[in-house]
């Protein structure tokens, strides 16, 4: 049997006071194998990888490389021990050449001077091993994402990596590019390098993986041989059996007319949404893995990102080239990041809340703006001192209510909420969804994108599953269990209720 190059026993990471991100994880990676790591959002994959790569230090547990115990205090130490991490957003310097990137942090030198000739020679060797069609002199910024990926792999080789960790390399690649990366992976494993490959996609795992370890809730559940293990067994391991019981909110059936009809909407990174509709008074949830296109879809609907679309809103053709157009048509967006996209943190509450509503007027009547803000904040049961208080002084939940207040004051009839509950505690989440309920009862239509399926499940009339930029399935949560929806998320099967 092939010897293990990396063995991990009982690895744990606790973030005081009470978060256990990783709980006694075990894994054994053999020399020359592609070992896949599977798990749902929040299963602990990122923490696990960061511990192995030395970017975090473990609270407990042992890591052995080639049978010798190691303790990494920094990523450089892990790299020296032969563990190399390739992050999803490749950590290359685009302004530098390929050769300069390959030896970033460990340039070949003679008598303290940079040895450019030897760097070029070694760079050529490393690039040849990954079958690159570009030269060491090319600028990384001018390469395609796939070639940048190859550069990152070649860099691992210059550090004599024994284990290369790849975190969702397929996220930014198309089919052909991914094939090229897979070919390189096969060549490397033939030379004895082990690959720890993280992906959401079962298809890739079938194509490239030898074995797979499933993570769930911060624990390593089981390791399977890829061959001979059916998808159903993997999905079951990912989801587990001990689902929390979620009480569905009692909502009257949606009877309003269709107000938003998207025949087709396309945008960058393969976003291609077809036949999406929304009724008056409906709360639609968007679920999907990271990168499935939820955020891009909402941004396109709001005119914040360039896109092509054929759609109608309230019976009229709808085209939003800028957020201004969308707002004029009665659309409001609560963006994914309230701090960088939603709020002007240094400005008072009432100015944030009335920013869209005051546009088009000449005078800013501060008294009037405050008078408009206060009742809406009360309706949202916002906790604050005075409307002149800066929003930065509010808690996350109350900040989110200020973002929502913007669109209530403006009178938006179609609300797009992107991860509205992120960073909120349970009470604030309940407040938020109660509010969404009231808005829908009032005749607004709401689209909520969230990575927390349970929340959508409890709050929505319809759940759309997004997969690789497409809306592949639509479910009625009243008649569908969560596992079915989760399976669609992962496998990408089509379904329409």
């Amino acid at each position: 049997m092939t010897p293990d190059v990396l063995t991990i026993e009982g690895l744990s990471k606790r973030f005081p006071p009470s978060i256990i991100a990783l709980d006694e994880a075990n894994i054994a990676v053999r020399k020359g194998e592609v070992h896949c790591l599977l798990g749902a959002n929040g299963a602990g994959k990122s923490t696990f990888l960061k511990l192995i790569a030395g970017a975090l230090s473990p609270s407990a547990g042992k890591i052995h490389v080639d049978g010798k115990p190691v303790h990494f205090r920094a990523p450089a130490e892990a790299a020296r021990a032969g563990i190399s991490m390739i992050y999803q957003e490749l950590d290359l310097v685009p302004q530098l050449t390929v050769a300069e990137n390959l030896f970033l942090g460990h340039p070949p030198s003679r008598f303290g001077f940079l040895d450019k000739r030897s760097r070029r020679v070694q760079a050529r060797e490393a690039l040849a091993r990954v079958g690159a069609s570009f030269t060491p002199e090319d600028r990384v910024g001018s390469l395609s994402i796939a070639n940048q990926q190859l550069t990152a792999i070649a860099r691992s080789l210059t550090r004599e990596a024994k284990v290369i960790i790849m975190d969702e390399p397929s996220a930014a690649l198309n089919e052909t590019e991914l094939k090229a990366v897979f070919r390189v992976i096969r060549e490397l494993t033939a030379q004895g390098v082990a690959i720890l490959y993280v992906s959401h996609r079962l298809g890739e795992l079938r194509e490239i993986g030898d074995r797979v370890t499933v993570l769930r809730g911060g624990r390593t559940i089981e390791t399977f041989d890829v061959e001979g293990t059916p998808d159903s067994a993997l999905v079951e391991a990912i989801l587990g059996r001990e689902r929390g019981f979620v009480e569905r909110r009692d909502r009257p059936p949606v009877t309003g007319e269709v107000i938003l009809k998207v025949d087709r909407l396309t945008a960058a990174h393969g976003l291609d949404i077809r036949e999406f509709e929304l009724r008056r008074g409906e709360i639609a949830g968007l679920t999907g893995l990271n990168g499935s296109g939820r955020t891009s879809f909402l941004k396109a609907l709001f005119g914040a990102d360039p896109h092509e679309a054929r759609m109608s809103l309230y019976g009229k053709p709808y085209k939003a080239k800028t957020p201004r157009d969308a707002i004029a048509a009665g659309v409001g967006l609560v963006p994914e990041s309230r701090k960088t996209e939603g709020l002007i943190l240094d400005a008072p509450i009432y100015r944030n809340a009335t920013l869209p509503a005051m546009q088009g007027q000449f005078l800013a009547r501060h008294g009037q703006l405050k008078a408009k803000t206060v009742p809406v904040l009360r309706q949202l049961s916002t906790k604050y001192g005075s409307p002149e208080q800066k929003v930065i002084q509010l808690s996350g939940g109350n900040q989110q209510k200020v973002v929502l207040a913007k669109w209530i004051i403006k009178g938006a009839r179609l609300l797009l909420l992107d991860e509205p509950s992120r960073g909120l505690d349970i009470g604030a989440k309940a407040d938020l969804y109660r509010l969404v309920d009231e808005l829908a009862a009032d005749g607004a239509a709401v689209i909520v994108a969230s990575s927390e399926l349970e929340e959508l499940y409890a709050a929505c009339d319809t759940i759309w599953v997004f997969h690789e930029g497409r809306n592949i399935a639509r479910f009625d949560p009243a008649t569908t269990d969560q596992d079915t929806i989760l399976k669609h998320q992962i496998l990408g099967d089509h379904h329409h209720d």
Partner: protein
Amino acid sequence: MTDIVTGVAPARTSGRRIADLLIEYNFIAIFLVVVAIAAILSPNFLTPTNIANLFQQAAVVGVVAVGMTFVILTGNIDLSVGSVVALCGMLVAVLLAGGMPILPALAITILTGALAGAVIGLITALAEVPSFIVSLAGLVSFRGITYLLTDGVPVSGLPPSFGAISSTMVPVLPGLQVSSMGIIFVVLCIAAGALLRLTVFGESVYATGGNAEAARLSGLPTTRILVLVFTVSGIMSALAGILLTSRLRIGQPTAAQGLELDAIAAVVLGGTSLFGGRGGVLGTFFAVMLLQVLRNIFNLLGLGSFYQMTVTGLIIVAAILLNRFIDIRRGRA
């Protein structure tokens, strides 16, 4: 982050409030301290003639700094203002010397300043290039155009009534007369303050500087706002150029070199953040006056300009460190 109970403002003692006000308006306190020191050092300082002089001398850089405040509030910078002052000062002189009546000459000059600013704003906003470099190009080019107007020769022979724009003495208090130039500076400050505080445009300037992406996603016309703030800066520079030529009675193409740095120093000293979103014209006004008082007191004491430069630099650093310190304390509070 703190949660504050619904609807109830935290109780504050009056002492705490005074402290808060002092921190908020620290530039006024510093100004008053410097004035008090100046008054003690020189008996000539608080005389009506000297006070009138202060306003007269502060006006040119002051008017430019008011325009610069708009630009810096959006997180941008306008290095071209000194050259626009010179260009507009020369243009108005050339037009008047050529026999054009005063009003159309003023209108053309102000329009030229507005256009110069708008061009810089347009390039900055549409090409998404840092305004630092765009306005640096403006600094060089506009100065070049200024020299081209007369091949670098100063223009004289302006009508005496043009001089009256800057030098008419207006009684403001019994015994205190201030020149029209000083009055124009103060009026422009008030107008600019009103524009920033009372209009939606002003709100939009603060919002764009505070968080451009949030402003865009709130439906603000961010491109138009950027073009407008540079246009305001251009108009203010044109007005400053007119005042300068009116006071000198001559169009001087080498005038106002380095004025942009004095204006930026005043805006920052007045508490406007270089990152945008915070500050205002009130601070700029007091900072301009503070720098003028410093120059003035050194003159009254007979100390040379070398001392002036050194101490001015030190005071700017001290004021900025103070503001930084206040920011940090506030962040922790």
